[in-house]
Subunit: 349 residues, 2 copies
């Protein structure tokens, strides 16, 4: 999981900087777009997921007997894969489980990282279902050039922030890959990897032949928490339990691969609800990222540190007072999107 | 580990069958040669290992105070990598550990499979050192298209045959990958994989882009038992303990890769002693293989079943009585090589 963007792959890093229509890049390691911001409509079409429409949101409200979360009302979770099937089952009285995660690349979570966890907490409360949370310390070790011990330490630090979101302690299992991989989980990793060719992962993730084989072998690690059989201590005898994954849309490639493989190894395809990105302080053209501390507000930032907003956040104001009078503020950019995420009262947005 | 040959990779399977000098193929999944048998000299040069010379064998005898094993005297273990360094350390009073293994692809071991285990047993007795034995059930699952449970069952069956070799129960740890991968072992897998590019494994193992990513991600699994830090329950505080791997020479690619990576992750390079192949009943041009039951004698074969020797073994006799009188028997082929392996008294060979 990488709600934070990582070093771009070589192939994307060399893209020429031209002023004409810039290609948007959205994958688990890089999110960038032109000045117009991310083209989410284009992404939905490109990835082949479905739009989360008003009827589905109404249905969630009806089934759970509570108002839909503001992230749904405001379209922050805007896409899905087979979310309706999960609702169909729930309507028939069947349960499912939630799976989300985080790649621990920073000392603490920033506001963008909180989005999937806040939404997952709402889903857990509303549907009263179990949850597994994966900390991919083995992934961050790979991409961030950390030591194993440093990756494990960051996972532990991040776990504290995640715990603070208030998940149901009776229904939540959080683990780090370095601590947990083995047994049935490893068996599923091997099964998934046997179903995916090198050409296939290159097509999905854009690896190059100079990438190390650990990158190539990582995707199954993020895939298998989608299968209840990876957690025999939680789901023994419930191997066909459906899984719902709340995540940002840059994680879609992992689960496209997972859904492709699932029926070939006798497993259910996971469903997804997918969110937009939390914008960087600098604006909507990229996401808030742990790789650039000035783009982000951390949950551990002091009052003093948060003043970086004054320096780095793009307010939407024009370059001069004259232009401001002439054109007015640009309300499409920060800080309005941030308010959209966190203001509790819809009337104020 | 694959003392048994497996389905050839696509790239080797399509090699044209021409009568002129046939290319010999020796990799962990295929061993085949022209009519002249395996060119071991060529292999040593091609792989870049060292020849096990008489001086080294004498040194083993001197250091251990016992006659060298017949596999050494008869040149069955004929090559090595830094075996002398292990002997240097031993001479100074330092210990090392042994690592060997097996890919469980058949119900029981055949005579060829016994060779590394018999030799390892001798080394353990002579040097009084610990031993780890890896059963790569996760590898056989991949290449043999078995289910996970069937692979695990074969590993268990094979473990019985291995135990029967009589290793020191106080100094031996045997494990299967499906049961043991995790923790420090998994950490080392990830560290190794971060040091090996896709291009590199293709160069060493000949994978193709249509191979699944589990093949590409397997080599680190066989690499890491070379590092004591993979076994904290055995070698805690002894992370620089040297490792000696007795194996057949087709396993050399794994350990070439391992030796290349070792110093980059702060580990010692493993040393190796490498054997020729146990010939198939049909002759020296390929090895005894579990993939072809008529090529092999199993340790579980009944007296009746062993009679297949009469039908399938190439005795070295000529095609007709007349030719036999004229040319005599060809003593270079079976059953002489088999006797070379198992006859205890050198005078009879």
């Amino acid at each position: 999981f990488s709600s934070a963007s990582r070093s771009p792959l070589p192939m994307t890093a060399v893209a020429p900087k031209v002023e004409k229509e810039e290609e948007q890049v959205v994958n688990p390691w890089e999110v960038s777009a032109g000045k117009g911001g991310i083209g989410y409509d284009k992404l939905v079409d490109q990835f082949g997921c479905q739009r989360l429409d008003a009827a589905t949101i109404d249905r969630v409200a009806r089934l759970t007997g509570r108002p839909p979360h503001r992230f749904l009302r405001r379209g922050l979770f805007f896409a899905h894969r087979d979310f309706n099937e999960i609702l169909d089952l729930y309507e028939k009285g069947e349960k499912f489980y939630l799976y989300t995660g985080r790649g621990p690349s920073s000392e603490s979570l920033h506001l963008g990282h909180l989005v999937p966890f806040m939404f997952t907490k709402y889903l857990q409360d509303a549907f009263k279902v179990p949850l597994v949370i994966q900390l991919t310390d083995d992934e961050k070790f790979l991409w961030k050039n950390l030591t194993v011990n440093e990756s494990k330490r960051l996972a532990r630090e991040n776990a504290k922030d995640i715990i603070a979101c208030g998940f149901d302690v009776e229904k939540t299992f959080m683990f780090s890959d370095f601590n947990f991989v083995g047994g049935a989980f490893y068996e599923n990793m091997v099964k998934v990897a046997r179903c995916v060719t090198y050409n296939k992962v290159v097509g999905i993730f854009g690896f190059s032949q100079e990438d190390h084989i650990r990158k190539i072998s990582f995707p199954p690690v993020q895939a298998v928490p989608s299968f209840p059989s990876s957690f025999p201590h939680l789901f023994s005898g419930m191997e066909q339990l459906r899984c719902l994954i709340p995540c940002a849309i840059d994680q879609d490639p992992y689960f496209r691969m997972t859904r492709d493989v699932a029926p070939r190894i006798g497993c259910q395809k996971p469903s997804l609800t997918e969110s937009r990105f939390f914008p960087a302080l600098q604006g909507e053209s990229t996401k808030m990222s742990a790789s650039d501390p000035n783009s982000a507000i951390y949950v551990t930032d002091s009052e003093e540190e948060i003043k970086k907003v004054n320096k780095y956040a793009f307010s939407g104001g024009q370059d001069s007072a004259e232009l401001q009078r002439e054109l007015g503020a640009n309300l499409e950019v920060s800080p309005c999107p941030a308010l959209e995420h966190f203001l509790l009262d819809n009337k104020l947005v």
